[in-house]
Symmetry: C2
Amino acid sequence: MELAAAKLKFIEAWGKLGSEWGINRTMAQVHALLLISAEALTTEEIMENLSISRGNANMTLRDLIGWGLIEKQHKAGERKEYFFADKDVWNIARQVAKERKKRELEPVLKVLTELSTVEGDEKDPEFKTFKKSINDINKLANNVDKTLETMLKAEESWFWGSVLKVFK
Amino acid sequence: MELAAAKLKFIEAWGKLGSEWGINRTMAQVHALLLISAEALTTEEIMENLSISRGNANMTLRDLIGWGLIEKQHKAGERKEYFFADKDVWNIARQVAKERKKRELEPVLKVLTELSTVEGDEKDPEFKTFKKSINDINKLANNVDKTLETMLKAEESWFWGSVLKVFK
DNA sequence: ATAAACTTTCAATAATTATTGAAAGTTTAA
DNA sequence: TTAAACTTTCAATAATTATTGAAAGTTTAT
């Protein structure tokens, strides 16, 4: 396979993966493009490469900056903004984990905590089932939360070392 | 809060969480409803409870069965089908991990493996960047895959015991 | 102050995804 | 074999989400 074809294939695969996990496909594609580019790219180049409009490119780039996955670069004597992605895959994983934890896991934990205080008739099977499910989910969610917390603080080698020890 | 209100709140939160993670909102809501129901429910009851149509309820229930999250039950002397959810939260987590691994992670691993064989000019920065990114992502994806594999085989207590040991 | 170069916004539109509901299909009982 | 009870299908429609593109906004150089 040619490099050009391989790039297209990667962009497509990354875009698909993103959309399956609740991340806008275009955003994942722009991220993919920047990940495999040696040089920082302009909005213009990104638009052209992925055949997307200026407005879309602009909003997507803002979003990616908001996720901490890409940064702006300025070149001396030029007015254009250039964009490049952090290439450290471990940083990317942490950044995504951090944002999704904040945006999605934490709100759910809050609701679960609230729901686990609901009082009712201990004799009522409906109440007992509700309470048990909520408590069980709550425990699991807290374990996930703790694990992510550790991951956010960890060095890659240490984290995978610790986790993979489990497998021997 | 009343039990009824708490149920609604949980169904809403579970549905939102699902949709943020690429799972159809209605599917997550039906799952939530069955998770907190002491009794198995009929299609009719589910339709009514969530205000959804018969067709939607039917397809969603099939999907949930396909994900291994709910099962049918038959009651003696009745023709109706009843549905109930596995209440073991660890089983649910494993089942979801198993399906998503199969449906999404594995196809991506396949593409990455293919892309990591691309040959090119080692002097070309574009080629070098591409190759490095693909290799790095490949390694991370394989670590995730191994971790999920272990999770699928593990007992809950053993798994979290091992993982949480990391935190002390 | 003006204009060129560039970025941002957002209402309109397109594309995608989910839902409905009625007709067709199936199973069971008599 | 008929009909009632129940399930499935799927074309039409609705709801949601993403994208466009042109106008407005901003910055910089002269």
